[in-house]
């Protein structure tokens, strides 16, 4: 039935027989700046190997839907896909991805941070190689803090302290909002901020019997805090702001504080991209009743679908694009501050990177500290800091994200939003046959 696949493999064999190995790979990736740089630099790999790459660059949600549809139906449209720390272990366990334990002797696995490797493996097999990894921390404007006379407390501050500080630096008349946080609905958008916030307030998604606990006090306190903070000190239209929108706002000098991905530091501290590069500093994401799970863990990684007919050439590209050499290439051609962060020890031992990236040490510590296996105050049956590593989570996370966005927009109360969310989560879990 797989007519085209047969044709393709026939032609591949013909090529192999003829001695030529030029392959055409289709690669799906997300439209963020690190990936755009990879697209630019990949011509070097194409020249070196004679292969060519067809790029499919999509927005995160569209990419996820497109790639999942293709992989789950064994469609074979892509040879390399960009996936996250949520998909990698689930899809790997599903048997949809090619194991990546054999990228060649030159590929330095030991150099990759342990938690990152673990996060992309299932049952001890690596299914995706990290392009960059991130935790979350707080960006803030030193100049505004100094002007307002704000002194940072020693150690990790609480969200209550954070709110007090935000109130002091909020200055909308001069176009500066006290805080910018994600408001755009989606499990990878607003829930990436709300998830760790709930962790800090002592909440969890499910109890040990897989019963949803979204109507608990901890959730109520956390979401009320979030909605009040954003309505009082956030920019207008926050329900449309995801990571990228906030990044643009912060870089444009419109936000005094922003708790978000450490990987954005390369952009915020790059004077070519950001007007606040020399005025920004950072501290840990706040805690509240607990300091567990307050910084998230995420990685964008490259993987090869089982349905690809060109796994060898694809592996070659993966080995190149996630290597130390690639990090060096970006550093030398695009400036060290733009080097893909969070994946390799060697990057954090490289003096050129440390000089260009004042945030390097903090990022390294945050990533090493994030522990998806123990991110909540009370025990849980799942892993994941800002997500729950089960296939059902996307649907639940998106729905809860929408409800919280509705509460943020003032279309319903926090109580209603959480009640709807709890009901929805219970329905979905019942539908999926939990507790398993």
């Amino acid at each position: 039935m797989h007519l085209r696949s047969t044709l393709v493999s026939a032609s591949v064999m013909a090529l192999v027989a003829g001695g030529a190995l030029a392959e055409e790979l289709t690669i799906a990736t997300v439209n963020n700046s690190d990936m755009i740089i990879m697209q630019e630099l990949s011509s070097k790999w194409e020249e070196a190997t004679g292969n060519t790459l067809n790029w499919v660059v999509l927005e995160e949600n569209v990419l996820r839907q497109r790639v999942t549809t293709d992989i789950a139906t064994n469609g074979g449209s892509f040879d390399i896909v960009t996936i996250g720390a949520y998909e990698a272990p689930i899809w790997g366990a599903q048997g949809w991805l090619v194991a990546l334990d054999d990228l060649g002797d030159a590929y330095n696995y030991d150099d990759i941070f342990e938690p990152v490797l673990n996060g992309l493996s299932a049952d001890g097999t690596l299914y995706a190689v990290p392009f960059y990894a991130e935790s979350s921390f707080t960006f803030y404007r030193k100049d505004l803090f100094d002007a307002a006379g704000v002194e940072l407390p020693d150690g990790q501050m609480t969200y209550d302290q954070f709110a007090e500080i935000v109130a002091k630096v909020h200055d909308p008349d001069n176009g500066v909002f006290g805080t910018c946080q994600r408001g755009k609905a989606g499990w990878g958008e607003n829930m990436a901020f709300v998830g760790p916030l709930v962790n800090a307030f002592g909440g969890r998604w499910f109890d040990m019997d897989w019963k949803p606990t979204i109507d608990s006090d901890a959730w109520h306190n956390a979401v009320t805090y979030y909605v009040d903070l954003m309505n009082e000190f956030g920019p207008p239209g926050a329900t449309a702001n995801g990571h990228n929108e906030n990044r643009a706002l912060f870089a444009d000098g419109k936000c005094a504080t922003w708790v978000d991905a450490t990987s954005a530091a390369g952009y915020i501290f790059n004077p070519d991209e950001s007007s606040v590069a020399d005025k920004t500093d950072f501290f840990q994401a706040p805690k509240q009743v607990t300091d567990k799970g307050t910084g998230w863990f995420w990685a964008w990684a490259l993987a090869i679908p089982k349905s690809s007919q060109k796994a060898d050439a694809a592996k070659n590209f993966l080995a190149w694009s996630t290597s130390e050499d690639y990090v060096n290439l970006v550093g030398e051609t695009k400036g060290w501050v733009a080097a893909p962060p969070g994946t390799r020890k060697s990057t954090y031992e490289n003096q050129a990177y440390l000089d260009a990236a004042p945030f390097a040490k903090t990022v390294e510590n945050s990533i090493l500290a994030a522990n998806p296996a123990d991110a909540t105050l009370e025990p849980v049956p799942y892993t994941g800091v800002q997500f729950v590593a089960i296939p059902e989570f996307q649907g639940i996370g998106n729905y809860v994200g929408q409800q919280i966005a509705a509460a943020l927009a003032g279309q319903m109360t926090v109580d209603e939003a959480l009640k709807n969310s709890q009901q929805f989560a219970e329905r979905e879990m019942a539908k999926a046959g939990y507790p398993k």
């Binding site: 949600n61 839907q65 999942t68 549809t69 789950a72 139906t73 689930i90 599903q94 755009k184 609905a185 989606g186 920019p235 207008p236 239209g237 926050a238 329900t239 449309a240 706002l249 419109k254 296939p391 059902e392 996307q394 649907g395 998106n398 929408q402 409800q403 966005a405 509705a406 943020l408 927009a409 003032g410 279309q411 319903m412 939003a417 709807n420 009901q423 929805f424 329905r427 979905e428 539908k431 999926a432």
Partner: protein, 290 residues
């Protein structure tokens, strides 16, 4: 005039279209109906099993379902009212003598050519974004708080965007219809002392009735499945404020990958669409036979 020979020929000529459309309708439909009775989640292969009406039960009792029905009706209704009303006014205006009518017509028709994705993105970012959008800039420069369109009035914003795309369509059809109106009849009425309103009500509007029906029919077909504009602007939110039936099915089958539930939703949407179609057919049939 139709002989037996030509009847047979006619049947032969019509059959490719009918067979193709039947196949196009029946193959996916059969698969959709089949899937709708399965527990089938793309993310959990190997767990497919017959579940009877479970998917339908979950889809219909989903709290978003009722919202989606009302949102679909609000979206279709809102856009129809704006485009038919606005289109009539535009047509009356453009029918009057003026300088540069051709250019004005070019300006008015332009939005019809714009891709839905592009118009959604452009309105969302360049116009309705409260910080960087043009409306926000104008509000701020006059000292007002910028209005958060997609947060405070999400459905109205979507209706606005979609109406912008479809207003040219309505205008052009109605304008063409108006231009075909016998001007002597109008002049006679005017000489008899009929007011403009009377002329509009008793002569123009009945003449436009047929064109208006066509506008409603064609637009309803397209508006029932509005998707791209919602996807790129609000993602169906906040909450379920802009989730229409099409978007709800998208959420079920392509965001939660629950093909079973999505298929059940698809079957329900097809049934509802056909109810609307029958309703429209009655209405149009009467008007088009004339």
């Amino acid at each position: 005039m139709a002989t037996q020979h030509s009847r047979t020929a006619a049947r032969l000529m019509i059959s490719p279209a009918v067979i193709l459309l039947l196949a196009w309708m029946i193959v996916p439909l059969a698969l959709t109906i089949y899937f709708s009775f399965l527990r089938y989640n793309l993310l959990m292969p190997g767990t497919e099993a017959w579940t009877g009406w479970t998917n339908y039960y979950y889809f219909v009792t989903d709290p978003s379902f009722t919202d989606a029905i009302w949102n679909t009706l609000a979206l279709v209704g809102g856009v129809l009212i704006i485009t038919v009303g606005g289109g009539t006014l535009f047509a009356l205006l453009l029918d009057r003598p003026m300088w540069g009518q051709g250019i004005v017509r070019i300006l008015v028709i332009a939005p019809f050519f714009v891709m839905p994705t592009v118009s959604g993105l452009v309105w969302k970012n360049m116009f309705m974004n409260p910080v960087n959008g043009i409306f926000g800039h104008i509000a701020t420069s006059f000292g007002f708080e910028p209005f958060d369109f997609f947060g405070q009035a999400p459905m109205a914003s979507i209706i606005w965007i979609v109406s912008w795309q479809w207003l040219p369509f309505a205008t052009l059809i109605l304008l063409t219809a108006l231009q075909s109106l016998d001007s002597e009849q109008l002049e006679a009425a005017e000489m008899d002392g009929a007011s403009w309103l009377n002329r509009f009500w008793f002569i123009m509007l009945p003449h436009l009735a047929r064109a208006i029906t066509v506008v409603i029919l064609i637009q309803t077909i397209f508006l029932l499945s509005i998707f791209a504009e919602i996807l790129v602007t609000t993602n169906g939110g906040p909450g379920t404020a802009t989730t229409n039936l099409t978007y709800l099915i998208y959420v079920q089958s392509l965001l939660q990958y629950d093909v079973g539930a999505g298929s059940a939703g698809g079957v329900i949407a097809i049934i509802l669409a056909n109810i609307v179609a029958i309703f429209l057919m009655r209405m149009i049939g009467k008007n088009l036979d004339a």
